[in-house]
Symmetry: C2
Subunit: 199 residues, 2 copies
DNA sequence: CACAAATGCAACACGAGAGTCTCACTTCTG
DNA sequence: CAGAAGTGAGACTCTCGTGTTGCATTTGTG
């Protein structure tokens, strides 16, 4: 789309700060979706004015944030070969990647549902492809629940619960944290949706 | 504590408005946890000044709201005989009652976690008794998950998902809405926590 | 190095919401 | 019915966050 660098006088310096701001926004907004731009600027180690220079207004910043998130989701769906791989494998793989996206999904829901009034924080394409995965899981007999939208809703609810689980929780066992959360997420969702689960 | 009515010149009129305000707050805050007192006053059909007369400040209103919610939860736990009845029966019964409390639990989480910084929106007693129920479920072999706190966390996450489900959703079947949601909640949670579920 | 770009800082205007107060008016309650 | 309690409406203060601007200074880049 626009990864090239044509006659573009954007100093590398500035672009780096864009990243910093987005990163800071993730952290701060996860703690409080209504946090001020000043808090975000502080977290990024920049002046508030700079935030306003990189992003026209608050909404623009949030747009960028969610655009980035969406891109990561799409990448995860690609990587997991959601429409072709065996559904259980794809579910596990996509979950692994989604868990890797250190991002409070509740944040997304919170912020989007009222600051961003209207459109879902998940792009239509993400929703469609995710629901397709659940359809495939159902067709394969891995789950009983038939409605993909309910499956997705539940998946996200559980994802939030798993995400909020403190680091050393007993449910996570002892090994790698991300791997443990992935396992917990997958087995919980499969159980919830009427599957037997791989455990 | 203070349920008596000593030399208390509280006009019935005023007390009725307290109820109206709390009711309005539930509705409005469910839509937007950061809604202004004016919106709440409008919803209640009262002037903003009146809200300030009944509740010293925003925090006081929220305190009252959550105190009321907590009372309802405690009542549900009593009613369901959570510590003595067969755990599966108690789970079903308490869920039935909780679903009856038309209240956005996400609202509670949202508001409490930052406006009310610090204490959980669920009173300690509610948490303890709820966790005890999950312990009993585990002991009875109805679920596999051993950590009561994880069970409760997941229960609430699922509750939110079930609560947000639109009225005529396919998952709910055709009968009574509340009963259908109760069934869905119970079977989903049991499945998620490693039980077979009663379905 | 020299210049343009980017930043920090401070100040400002603006709007929204909380909380307070007064006063005329309505509504309970004894 | 009479007085007390409650309310609505409006004005006012205060605080906080957003968005903008000007200017001196720092930092990147050809």
């Amino acid at each position: 789309m626009s990864a090239s660098t044509p006659p573009r006088p954007v100093r590398a310096d500035a672009e780096r700060n864009v990243t910093r701001i987005l990163e800071a926004a993730k952290v701060v907004l996860a703690d409080d979706p209504t946090a001020s731009l000043e808090r975000i600027a502080d977290e990024a180690g920049l002046a508030r004015a700079t935030v306003h220079r990189r992003f026209a207004c608050r909404k623009a910043l949030l747009d960028a944030l969610f655009a980035q998130l969406n891109e990561q989701y799409l990448h995860a769906l690609d990587e997991a070969k959601v429409e072709t791989a065996p559904p259980l494998v794809a579910l596990h793989r996509v979950t692994e990647l989604v868990i890797g996206i250190k991002f409070s999904h509740r944040l997304a829901v919170d912020v989007v549902s009222r600051v961003h009034n209207g459109h879902s924080f998940l792009g239509d394409e993400v929703v469609e492809r995710a629901e397709l995965l659940f359809s495939r899981l159902h067709a394969a007999g891995a789950i009983t629940a038939a409605s993909p939208s309910w499956c997705l809703r539940l998946y996200l609810a559980v994802l939030d619960a798993v995400h909020q689980l403190p680091a050393g929780a007993p449910e996570l066992g002892e090994g790698d944290d991300a791997a443990a959360r992935t396992r917990l997420q997958v087995s919980t969702v499969l159980g919830a949706l009427g599957g037997r689960g791989p455990q």
